[in-house]
């Protein structure tokens, strides 16, 4: 048995373990929450739902379980998986472990869209729509700018364009914060920019999930070529891959995934940066294994963080705060341990 086969076996074992962990966590999370529901009631409620019977006496339990808690768990899994997948792609694409899905300005652009929506007092659905469009538009603009510049280092120019336009969008957000009603809109803007799944409902998951899956398809189909791209443009071209076209496709896919989850969850930092990194430590840089590992790990991480967010205090704790509190020490440790398994 060669080293590659052993690696694949280890990866398979890891994937199995992670999938089990995610399932276990999802069940546990379904039992936790400020509205007391016993495991027996959960089983009964699921039984009723499957049998198609309704019981007026436990209507609130059904609402809590099926309309609040389960959609929220599904959203946490979706957000964690999508951000980690996007992070893994970007890190491979830019051959840099310090890259996160925000590098091309998708989160800042989505933030700008949402802040505009809040500023104009639009309904929630429109705010989410503007966030989605803002994220996509910003990355598209970054790509156009980078293309117009046409430097020798296409990735470097792309990153620089992303930094510049991200800063511009950030400035627009700050401007709107100053102009917003401090008693009404400013708190809403602040909460949105810190990320939260507090107002998630089933509809949001059903809207975001297809977009995430559409983004995921090219990643899965092209998983081998992502490895080639991480060798560098010249090597990739020598191996018969058009790096420019592949890059645009991968960026589009990762951006679609990120924008659709940011639109429903707000700006959630750190996940797309730290999780792919940890996944790489576990299964190595091969994108074929890295992608599913990062997605499962991200889903589990996000679920834990969101369950903390909704239970550690009487009120909601913003996701952005928790992910940074947990993510920052982990990241420092990773940097300090200095492993370059890359």
């Amino acid at each position: 048995m060669g080293a590659a086969a052993t690696g694949r076996l280890t990866a398979t074992v890891w994937l199995g373990l992670l999938a089990g962990l995610v399932t276990l966590l999802a069940f546990a999370a379904a039992l936790i929450g400020p509205f007391a529901v016993s495991p027996g009631q959960v089983v009964a409620a699921i039984g009723r739902r499957l049998a198609g019977v309704t019981d007026p006496a436990s209507q609130q339990i059904d609402t809590v379980l099926f309309a609040v808690r389960l959609p929220r768990i599904a959203a946490a899994l979706l957000v964690g998986a999508a951000l980690s997948a996007a992070g893994a792609v970007y890190q491979g694409l830019f051959r840099n472990p310090l890259v996160s899905p925000d590098i091309l300005g998708v989160s800042t652009g989505a933030g700008l869209g949402a802040v505009l929506g809040i500023f104009l007092s639009l309904p929630v659905f429109a705010i989410q729509g503007l966030a989605f469009v803002g994220g996509l538009a910003t990355v598209a603009l970054v790509y156009l700018v980078a293309n117009a510049v046409r430097g020798h280092e296409p990735t470097l120019v792309l990153v620089l364009a992303g930094v510049v336009l991200g800063a511009l969008a950030g400035a627009c957000i700050s401007l709107m914060k100053i102009l917003a009603d401090p008693y009404d809109q400013l708190p809403a803007i602040t909460f949105w920019l810190l990320g939260s799944l507090a107002s998630i409902r089933a509809d949001d998951v059903w809207t975001a999930a297809p977009a995430v899956i559409i983004g995921l398809v090219p990643l899965v189909l092209l998983r081998w070529r992502v490895n080639l791209l991480s060798l560098g443009d010249d090597e990739a071209a020598a191996l018969g891959v058009d790096p420019g076209r592949l890059r645009i496709l991968l960026v589009a896919a990762a951006t679609l995934m990120t924008a659709s989850v940011v639109a429903i969850a707000g700006v959630v930092g750190w996940v797309g940066l730290v999780i792919p990194h940890i996944a790489r430590l576990i299964v190595g840089p091969n994108f074929d294994r890295l992608l599913p590992t990062a997605m499962l790990l991200g889903a589990a991480y996000m679920l834990v963080v969101d369950t903390l967010a909704r239970t550690i205090a009487e009120t909601e704790t913003p996701l952005g705060v928790l992910t940074a509190f947990i993510g920052a020490p982990v990241f420092v440790w990773l940097l300090a341990s200095g492993r370059r398994s890359w």
């Binding site: 609402t63 309309a67 008693y183 009404d184 507090a198 409902r201 009487e314």
Partner: protein
């Protein structure tokens, strides 16, 4: 011509009539501040202060921290609708330029709201830097009569202050007497829904939700633990379902429109019983936004909403009276009916 020469004339006058420094007043933070005898121009450091000054003596106000919106303008006296926008000096989102503050040559800067060390040091710094006396007035609801008398006295309109303060005291007293001995179980359990999704709220004890308790309700957003900072927080849907409020108050139109058909809110007692109340926000919010004297109007309204049997006042008469007394406007029937329809909207509308 008239428009252009008026400020210049004012400027010349103010140069000629130099203020005489002769009084020392103590503000709510215990700071002793020397102020001129005649205070003719007051810079309001934030929206709550601008309402306080506008109510007590509108002719002293140098400008609005934020220009009134079109729908708010009919509810402000015509002379003061077009005052310049002057920005906010303290609080959230500091947007004032000190030179703009100085340009209006105020004799006094007033801030009205929560008092804490940050605001005290900010006031001291601005006062030291500009030489303009800076007063901090406690904006807590129960301090309203005291604040009105203090500011009216400083502005030399004590009789006006007395009139306003006795309105506030009368209202508070009426509420206290009517609510005396009403056990907590028979008071409405109220959730204040803020933000477009209704999932922002003010914790019990925060300046943003004081009105709930004052009007005889119980705020369901109560963390119990006294050490928790009281302010605006985000709540999860599950928490709302768990506390199951029987009354919801909001001023957010998006939330109010969608709450009736939203499956998540449909199970909440308040929504099922049609007890979600939509506060008018013109020219200022009735229940908050900002937390200032405008809440007195909301107090009148909410107490009637909470206890229709105990407070049988006529909303039309009371609204007309309040807007005349506090906001210096005689509401015509169209404007009045717009407010009444706003406050009495029901799901069918």
């Amino acid at each position: 011509m008239r428009h252009r020469s008026a400020p210049i004339l004012l400027l010349c006058l103010s140069l000629v009539v130099a203020p005489s420094w002769s009084r020392t007043v103590e503000d709510s933070a215990g700071r002793r501040v020397e102020i001129p005898d005649k205070v003719e121009r007051v810079y309001a450091a934030g929206p709550p202060a601008s309402i306080l000054v506008y109510v007590v003596a509108p002719d002293r106000l140098t400008g609005w921290p934020r220009a009134p919106r079109d729908y708010e303008r009919p509810y402000l006296a015509a002379e003061y609708r077009d005052l310049p926008e002057t920005g906010r000096l303290t609080g959230r989102g500091n947007s004032a330029n000190l030179e703009v503050v100085l340009r209006s040559r105020p004799h006094l800067i007033i801030d009205f709201g929560s008092i804490n060390d940050t605001y005290v040091s900010l006031a001291d710094r601005v006062q030291a830097q500009t030489g303009i006396p800076y007063l901090l007035i406690d904006g807590r609801f129960d301090n309203t009569p005291t604040a009105l008398r203090l500011v009216a006295d400083i502005l030399g309109v004590s009789a006006r202050g007395e009139e306003l303060a006795s309105y506030a005291e009368g209202l508070f007293q009426e509420l206290d007497e009517a609510m005396d001995g009403v056990p907590e179980e028979s008071r409405p359990r109220v959730y204040m829904a803020r933000g477009p999704d209704g999932q922002e709220t003010g914790l019990k004890g925060s300046i943003n939700t004081e009105i709930i308790e004052r009007a005889g309700g119980v705020n369901v957003a109560d963390p119990g633990d006294a050490s928790v900072r009281r302010g605006i927080v985000r709540s999860s849907m599950e928490q709302v379902i768990a506390v199951d409020p029987d009354t919801i108050v909001t001023w957010d139109e998006n939330f109010y429109r969608r709450v009736w058909d939203d499956p998540l809110w449909a199970g909440i007692t308040a929504v099922r019983d049609g007890r979600v109340y939509f506060s008018p926000t013109a020219p200022f919010g009735w229940i908050d936004r900002p937390p200032s004297l405008n809440r007195l109007m909301g107090l009148k309204w909410l107490s009637g909403v909470f206890f229709p049997d105990r407070f049988a006042h006529d909303l039309r008469t009371e609204t007309r009276r309040f807007y005349k007394l506090f906001y210096h406007v005689d509401l015509d029937d169209t404007d009045l009916e717009r407010l009444i329809a706003w406050a009495q909207q029901r799901p069918a509308d």
